[in-house]
Symmetry: C2
Subunit: 352 residues, 2 copies
Amino acid sequence: MFQAHGYAAHDKHSHLVPFSFERRAPGLNDVVIEILYSGVCHSDLHQARDDWGGSIYPMVPGHEIIGRVTQVGSGVHKFKVGDLAGVGCLVDSCRHCSACEEDLEQYCENGLTVTYNGRERDTGAPTYGGYSDIIVVDEHFVVKVSDKLDLKAVAPLLCAGITTYSPLRHWKVGPGQKVGVIGLGGLGHMGVKFAKAMGATVVMITTSPAKGQDAQRLGADDVLLSTDPDAMKAHANSFDFLLNTVPVPHDINPYLALLRRDRTMAMVGVLTELDPPPNGVSLILGRKSVAGSAIGGLKETQEMMDFCAEHNIVSDVEMIAIQDINQAYERLVRNDVKYRFVIDMASLKEPS
Amino acid sequence: MFQAHGYAAHDKHSHLVPFSFERRAPGLNDVVIEILYSGVCHSDLHQARDDWGGSIYPMVPGHEIIGRVTQVGSGVHKFKVGDLAGVGCLVDSCRHCSACEEDLEQYCENGLTVTYNGRERDTGAPTYGGYSDIIVVDEHFVVKVSDKLDLKAVAPLLCAGITTYSPLRHWKVGPGQKVGVIGLGGLGHMGVKFAKAMGATVVMITTSPAKGQDAQRLGADDVLLSTDPDAMKAHANSFDFLLNTVPVPHDINPYLALLRRDRTMAMVGVLTELDPPPNGVSLILGRKSVAGSAIGGLKETQEMMDFCAEHNIVSDVEMIAIQDINQAYERLVRNDVKYRFVIDMASLKEPS
């Protein structure tokens, strides 16, 4: 066992505070990772505050983890001590269902084991995430990380990155296509970078002129203000794919009108009702689809990490110390970050 | 010009009454069809009563038309006098947009011309439908009809038939697949027959045990009562395709739970809001899709007619005289028909 240190929420109303806990001793296939950086996902806040119900306390959030391997089990093949390593939203799955066998562990039919606020498959012990100094994970659920990239800005790739990369790949985004990314936040800013790197013509679709300008800096070819009815009309029936990263309920009918016939809008942000409801006619006239997509499997996450190394893609981040996490959550609520907070875990060793 | 006779609604509150009007003289590519049978689609009722707005009066409804060719223009190639002929929901389109060029006239980007309650592209004159004795249509929008089938039961294929056949083909339904047809009415009963003939294992999903029994008579392999939570749970994540024919707003989340990963539910019935709204998680967990589909193009409609002749598929119909149309509408409102009313247009010549 390892004595680990991190920050935890102890109930839905409390701030995160220092917390000591145990990590398991590494098994045959486990790697032990000293955590260097941990991204702050909006879902950390939702789960710490039990917005979705079922939260397990104490909770150590964090599923955008970058670190260095300090120890490996005797059966580990992919990693050696000193390697850089990444851990995302899942740390285990059943490994034998059709989803797991197709490298789509995120859709494990027997329930995946999430990196925090979940339970270990064998012991039922709670899982603790990346707002900590050390983590022990089966090597299958750990990805290799290139040393060519700015490491602190790599962390958000493990959730915000793969959540946008995977649907862009699944719906075969590429050259000659016009792709819209709806909403510019942690997910949307990665969507713009990936869609552009895949060769598409990228349009940032936003309600905010300021965000539109920023999107062009990030690589967007054009900006469409969804609040401008004339502009929305001018872009009607013209998009080959829409990546909808908006994290709150909103009217998707105006976006469906932007799609070409037989095309898809993939939802990756809204985990609640699509309210106001879409209209049947928005789908029927043009044989359009609304789909969902969840993070990505381990094979694809590694593919994304390699793609990022090749194309020099990282997140735009704002670094914080772990002591600033509660203040960062308040800023997240106000959507006041460009575009991802990342915790420098070295700060854990500083006096609080 | 032809003097035509039919039944028309004169305003949203009135019953349909006898109505005389003019049909155009046949142009180069037109066929003149003596109408034998006209199916009664639920949308006839909605448009006669202006439920969707924009109705044009007087309105002669009817877009499930079977008849015999009595005259052809000099440029007509497909038909000769005496041939059987079918006309469905559209009688014209722009003929040059990408949809028209791909034989998907139903998605014409410049607006298709519907068989009734529309306007002719050249003159702007109102289009009048099948509740009449004669119709003049460009041969491109007329399909050939086999004399092997029971003609009166063929009429509903032109709308209820193609509306269900097209999505089953588009999403490649076939042997080895488990397909659910949701809702047993004019559309649903055709969906069951087609999916079965295409080789799928067909499950009728209904709220009504009596309809479930009837579905098995129509060819369904199994029945799933959507009101039975245990049964719904037993079928979770097991369907390769769902054809949702329910014509009124309803909660689609329980149906999305039935789909396997990466599969689609196609909506063909609801032309209003999908209320209560679907949940983002219903789509995201399993990368599922909700799509829409509208009728079919002329090429596919002909393919369906040929498929029906080959597989001996027609609708289950209840014959009425045109004089019974208002009473039939009342029964439609109560969903009291198995499964399609068809008007014997010979009744037009009887004293009312």
